[in-house]
Assembly symmetry: C2
Homo-oligomer: 222 residues x 2
Amino acid sequence: MDLVIGTDLGPGDPLPAEPELMRALGVSRNSVREALKGLQALGIVDIRHGYGTYVGTAALRSMAPGLLFHSRLAVRRSNPQALRDIVEMRALMESGLIRRAAVELGPEDIARLHTELDALEADGDSGRAGHDRRFHELLYEPLGNALALQLIALFWDVYRTTEADMAKPRTDHAQVVRQHRQVLAALESHDPDAAAARIAEHFADVTARIDLWAGRSGTGQG
Amino acid sequence: MDLVIGTDLGPGDPLPAEPELMRALGVSRNSVREALKGLQALGIVDIRHGYGTYVGTAALRSMAPGLLFHSRLAVRRSNPQALRDIVEMRALMESGLIRRAAVELGPEDIARLHTELDALEADGDSGRAGHDRRFHELLYEPLGNALALQLIALFWDVYRTTEADMAKPRTDHAQVVRQHRQVLAALESHDPDAAAARIAEHFADVTARIDLWAGRSGTGQG
DNA sequence: CGCGGTAGGACGTCCTACGTCCTGTGTCCT
DNA sequence: AGGACACAGGACGTAGGACGTCCTACCGCG
């Protein structure tokens, strides 16, 4: 890490090859590779077979496996708290950001959201995940906070994957579409409070679904 | 990861030794070690020299290096946006959580916060970081959201370390103490709105300090 | 001019050997 | 008998070499 920062390399730039790192750092190739493997896991470098090693660009996608692992472990032990925590963080972040979105989003942003929402409604339950995720992305993309985008995407992925591990009550597709439309309506009227309230409702439903699962499958406390 | 989840291991439990993993997975020790090194970076396993390998407990501390790396890289290139993003996320999370804290914290929690704040004031600028961090931890520890605690601690660490990289305007110690006391007062009167407002003020100051740095040292946009 | 084969670089995997750290056991000294 | 030290064993850490796979670039051939 210090080497990259010290040599003025930027995201996407190629790192020295393994043999050169061996000489530069005075260690064997095994150690170099293990270090790179660790950095790769953290998203600091991007290793491409037969091509080279490059400075990474996305910091947070890399922690999805770690978070996912612990969540799955918790769910596997019938402890719903990890899922509740994730949903609470999503609710906190989105409730705050949606206020900015209500103020800052322009007509073309709104139009894109309408398009995505129509696609979500049309696709039915099959292709649902993709459009739902994309909708939440489009909500906050114009705000210019790359970290927020990555965090929300991260938690979305972790939640969705973990959810798949548990035999959960089916989601009401029509209800999801309706809630999203209400959020969009609040955005169009540039009403931060209403938008935040709608988002809060959405997440309250999600939490309720987790409680339902916890009640019939787990201990309720782990 | 699948092996751990599949064999009903929990956090803290020991993993099979490297030779056994070689046999179980049918790969060489190098590959086993590189895989473990990646999992270690993600906080999924905890490797202890001469002792053994264990299932990890803290999921998020592991992504500090990655986030830290990208933030330092951004600051080094005079791009303050990464820092602004981090502070905005802290503000979003803490503003939301502080409302729950205002309602749920008991007298003994408040007492602990007073103690920590006194220590912060007494220590002056030298030991400041530790007490400031601990204060924010104590605020949200009773809420039972382990993920939130880890995220806040993570962002706190990343922000503090990155801040150290830039020649920044000094923080007004007395002002920090005063702001924290105001937050605590709002908590004692169980007033969520006031607490959230005080926290928002605190973070507004932090953001202002970043803008000051950006204005005199960077491009303002990278 | 276009296509396919070939050479080189870079990462992926494997094997072997030795070093370091920790623990448990056994012996020796007190 | 009790405690300190030495030793052996297990587990992770590091090193060096060899070969395989993937990708790119170059060159000859049609």
